[in-house]
Every structure is written in C-alpha cells, then in structure tokens.
C-alpha cells in the first residue's frame, strides 16, 4: 500500500509539473486519493470526509489569518508610499554607486519580506526597486535576483511563515523562532554575497533603449506627488518584528500592531476608516492564492497523518531516510533541486505532505523536519522558476525566470546547506 501512496504522490507531482492542475487542486485530489488508498472510511473517525476534508481544511486557520494580516500590512505599505519612499531615498543617497543601491534595495526587500511573502512582497520592493536598479546600471538578472534574495533574508522573520511551520509541524512558535534565528545569518550572508559578487562579476550595464518617452510630468502637492511617507512611518516593517522577536508577543497581535502603526503615522483621522477597509479588502485579494494553498496543504497533512497512511509509509520512508548526521546533510543537500519546479520537496506543496509523513512515522524529530523544510523554503522562495515572486520579478525586469534561477541557485543552495548543517548538529 505504501508503494501505491508513493505512486499517487508521483502522479500528483507530475500533474503539478505539467501544469495540468493548479497546485492547490492537485494537493486536494492527492489527499483524497491517499486517504482512500490508506483504507480510510468515507465518514466517521479517521475518514475521508470528516477527518481529511472537514478537519484538514481549517487546520492551518491561524496561518491563513496571519497571511491575511501580512497582506493587509503589505497593502498599507503600498498605499501609504512607505515602500516606495524607502526605495526612493536609497536611490537618492546611493544612486551613483550601483552596488549601494542594490544593497539598499536588498535591505528594503528583506524588511518587506518579514511582513508579507510571495509575489506581493516582490511587487512592494520591486515595482520601483527593479527599474531603479536598472536605471543606475545594475544588470537586469542581478536586479531581479536582488529583490528575491532580499525577500529570502526576511523570510526567516516572516511571521506568517512562523505560524505555518508551527501549526503544520505541531511545534511551539518559540521553537520555530529559535531555528529561524539560526537560519537568518546564512540567508543574510548569501544575499549580501550575491549582490557583491554579481556586481563585481557583471559590472554595470547601460542601454540606449527604444523605450518610448511615456512619462508626463503632473502638478500636485509634493507629498501627494511623490507619495513620500514621513521618516517615522518608514519604521513600520520592523514594528511587528520587534514585537514578535524582541517582546515575544504573539504573531497576530504583532501584525495588527504593524497595521495600526502604519495607519496612524501616515493617515489623517478622518481618512482612517476608509483606508483601513480599502487596504483590508485589497489584502483579501492578495491573500487569496496563498490561503487557497494553505487550505489544500491542511487537507493533505490530514491525509498523510491517517493511521493507515502512516503504517503503509513508515517502512518505506525509514528505509531511505539517512539517520547519520553527515549523510543527512549530504543527501538532503543533493536533493535541493527537488523543491524547484513544484517538485516533491516544495514545502508549499507535496513537501508539506512529506514533512508530515516524516513526523507522523517518527523517522525524524519534528524539529529536524522543521530545519529541513525551512532550509528548502529558502531555495524555493528565490530560485524556483514557477514560484510567483520569481516569475514576477524576472518578467518585470525583462528576463526569464530560468536566468534568475541559474544565477541565484548557487547562493540559496549554500543557504540550504547551512540550514541542514545546523539541523544535523542540533536536532539529530
């Protein structure tokens, strides 16, 4: 039966890779198929309908709320001009030294990455950041990669991600936070190295382009014209982070505090209600794709944790899972590419199911699986040519996602290696 479940998983990966099915739909179908293969009854305890679908769908509800709040805050950063002001100031201060601009945009991307993830984060930092970098001479692939590497620096401190791993792996938030703090230096060093090394290797680039001169100057008030946010409003992205990391406040109140801070530092009292509602509804739109995915992941996790599935998969997974720390690092580092192209180790896809299997069968402690999953997440978030932020950043810069993957993969692979080494050293 275990082999049948693995074949079903392979079919699910094939459906996602060939884009026959959207990832979320493929995961739900896969979950139902696994549940039937594991011999689960239709209704009742450990059943397809009651356990997998009914209990699985809202299992990651806390993550979904965190995602929604992060998206809301992201919308506020956009509408109040906080993100744009940060990039504009960086260009004004460091624009004659392209590498300074790239490092500055990297820092903004990291800040934005702590608030929200995926394509919305890339857009917040990249809408102005990418063309601004290109305008000062940074090659396009380097510019797109800088945004993605920057977001990856913020990901270890992205509160919705803490919530996701905490709920999905049934670990306390403190444990997740503890590992993320250890993962962060690897992400930071790799991102800074990316900017410095790629800037040195590729230098600067200027083109005489045939772009039509479309810009038209307009006349309005300066603040309104530039969307300048006051300097104290620029601290918004660090507010949730300071509260959650420094004061160990819970994730949802920390994010709410960020929303309130952004609002009161940028908005007149009589405009607050309207802006809050508008950005909240906008946040729903932004959060819809990841929330859909988290519903599906919850369902898949419920399926792979069914007793029948655990019993069937345990001997098979045990036979191929390395127990030696060195082998653990080697094997899972070599397997890094399997989290690309919606592959089986993508933690926001089938990888979540595999993580569930590893924990449910007791092959690795949940903390080791956390280390593995978060390490892979650092790769997926930057280099996967099918992930929305990579596609958006690459296409917006005018290059292909594959070019960005080739350029960034060595750096994020090194981050994964670092994360896996820490995991092996501390959790095995």
């Amino acid at each position: 039966m275990g082999v049948v479940i693995l074949l079903l998983m392979a079919a699910g990966v094939a459906a996602m890779l060939t884009r026959r099915l959207p990832t979320a739909f493929a995961l739900v179908l896969l979950a139902v198929a696994i549940a039937f293969a594991a011999g689960a009854p239709l209704t009742g305890k450990n059943s397809v309908l009651d356990t997998v679908l009914q209990e699985g769908a809202p299992a990651l509800a806390a993550t979904m709320v965190a995602i929604l709040l992060g998206s809301w805050l992201g919308k506020l950063l956009e509408e109040t001009g906080i993100a744009a002001t940060l990039v504009r100031k960086i260009v004004e201060f460091g624009g004659d030294r392209p590498v300074f601009v790239a490092l500055g945009v990297l820092a903004v991307s990291a800040l934005v990455g702590t608030v929200t993830g995926s394509a919305p984060a890339a857009m917040l930092a990249g809408l102005i950041g990418i063309p601004a970098m290109i305008a000062v001479g940074i090659p396009k692939v380097t510019a797109a990669g800088t945004i993605l590497m920057g977001i990856a620096v913020g990901v270890p401190f992205e509160l919705p991600v803490w919530q996701f791993f905490s709920t999905a792996l049934e670990l306390p938030v403190d444990t997740v936070r503890g590992f993320m703090v250890k993962l962060f230096p690897f992400a930071l060093v790799a991102a800074v190295a990316y900017v410095l090394v790629e800037s040195r290797r590729r230098g600067v680039e200027h083109t005489w382009s045939l772009k039509s001169l479309e810009g038209r100057p307009t006349s309005r008030g300066r603040r309104q014209l530039l969307g300048d946010a006051p300097w104290y409003a620029l601290l918004t992205p660090v507010v949730p982070l300071v509260l959650a990391l420094g004061f160990e406040l819970a994730i949802i109140p920390s994010l709410l505090a960020g929303v309130v801070y952004a609002l009161v530092t940028t908005t007149r009292p009589r405009e607050m209600n309207r802006r809050l509602l508008r950005t909240l509804y906008g946040g729903f739109e932004v959060a819809a794709p990841p929330i859909t995915l988290f519903v599906a992941i919850g369902i898949l996790l419920a399926a792979v944790k069914l007793p029948g599935a655990v019993d069937a998969l345990e001997p098979l997974v045990k036979a191929v899972s390395p127990q030696n720390a060195v082998l653990f690092v080697l094997v899972f580092t070599v397997l890094v590419p399997l989290c690309l192209y919606r592959g089986p180790l993508n933690v926001f896809g089938l990888g979540a199911g595999i993580a569930g299997v590893l924990i449910a069968t007791g092959i690795y402690p949940a903390t080791a699986v956390l280390g593995m999953a978060t390490s892979y997440n650092q790769v997926f978030g930057v280099a996967d040519p099918t992930s929305t932020q990579t596609v958006w950043a690459a296409q917006y810069a005018g290059v292909s996602p594959q070019q960005v993957m080739v350029r960034t993969l060595p750096y994020v692979w090194a981050v994964a290696l670092g994360g896996l080494c820490v995991t092996a050293a501390t959790q095995l």
Binding site: E92, G94, G95, I134, A135, R216, P217, S219, L226
Partner: protein, 205 residues
C-alpha cells in the same frame, strides 16, 4: 514629428521640444513619479549642460556589432565587465532609414546614428568615474541631506541618460537631441510592429 521643423528656423530650433523630451524621460524614470515638472525641467537642463561640456578620456573599448536590436528594443548597450559597447546594427540601419524618410538628414547626417551610439555609451562609461559622478551630482544640485553649511547631493535617476545623449549630440554635431530619434523610432515601431511587444526592452538605463 515631420521635417517641417527643419534646421535653419533659429539658432537651436528644437531646443524646447528636445528639453520637453528630456523632461518626459525623467518623469518616466522610477523615483520621479509625479515629481514637480519645474524641478524635472531644471534637472534636465543641468544634465544636458553637463553632458554637452563633458570630455571623456579616449579609453579603448571593444565595439561589437550585433543583430537583434529591433527584437530587444535596443540601439546600443555598454557593459563594464569586460568593457564593451554592443551596437545593434539592425536598429542603426532602421534609424538611418527613418531619418531619411522624415527628412531629418540635416539634423542627423549619414552615419551619425552609429557615431552617436558609440558616443552615448562612451559617456555612460565616463559617468561612472567617481570624480565625474561627484561633479555631476553637484551640477544637478539636488540635496539629499543638509547639515549646517554641509550638503550631501542626491543622485537623480535618469539624469545620466540625458547627459549621455547631450554628449552624443555635441560630440557628433547633431542638429537635434538623439532623444528625438529615440521617440521617432519608438513611434515607428509601435505603428508597424517589427517585434512582439512583450520582448521590447522595458527600462531605459
């Protein structure tokens, strides 16, 4: 955009239009969204003046001729590592034909497009020298930070493009700004698309 406004109507017949084009380029450059048009005009004038007065050292740079410029939406490209100027000959040919069609030959003499492309990219290379960068920022006069009598000058995104065009115009003795040619080429391409729109170059740098 026809030959009606040919040379000979004044000392610098297209000055206002060229300046308008320069202001539009700045206005379309990220970080200047909706910036005060008068400020943009002042910067455009300062950048063009700086470009006209530039005298880059003759640094040997490899020049490579390429095809595919119309597809990529490029006329020329400068890369610093290794230093190379890529000239897209198909775009240069198209520009020369367009100059003839529009009756602009007195502004852009035969062969001047290639010369302007090389001069433009030489200017970009020159503008990366620390001393030149500092002078350029001072000429633009945009203050990022002021501490008593001390001023930290800000970078103005897009201004180096204007300076490079102004240098190319002065160095090649063109009657009008190369921006006019850029606009004409963009207009011609949009009327009779020779390339898929999605593949055109998105940002001026």
């Amino acid at each position: 955009m026809s030959g009606d406004h040919g040379p000979g109507l004044g000392l610098d017949p297209g000055h206002d239009h060229d300046l308008d084009l320069a202001v539009r380029l700045l206005a379309g450059t990220p970080t200047h969204e909706g910036r005060d048009p008068l400020v943009l005009r002042r910067w455009a004038e300062a950048a063009e003046e700086f470009g006209r007065r530039m005298s880059p050292d003759p640094v040997p740079v490899r020049v490579v001729e390429r095809d595919g410029g119309l597809t990529a939406g490029l006329l020329a490209r400068y890369r610093s590592r290794p230093p190379v100027v890529e000239v897209y000959v198909d775009t240069v040919d198209r520009a020369e034909r367009l100059v003839a069609e529009l009756g602009w030959r007195s502004w852009f003499p035969a062969g001047s497009v290639l010369a302007a492309a090389l001069a433009h990219e030489r200017a970009h290379a020159w503008l990366h020298h620390a001393r030149v960068r500092a002078e350029f920022k001072r000429a633009l006069g945009h203050t990022a930070l002021r501490l008593g009598p001390r001023r930290l000058y800000a970078h103005v995104a897009g201004a180096d493009e204007l300076a490079a065009h102004a240098y190319a115009r002065a160095a090649c003795g063109l009657g009008r700004s190369p921006l006019l040619l850029t606009e004409a080429l963009a207009a011609a391409m949009s009327k009779k698309p020779e390339v898929p729109e999605s593949e055109t170059d998105r940002w001026v740098s």
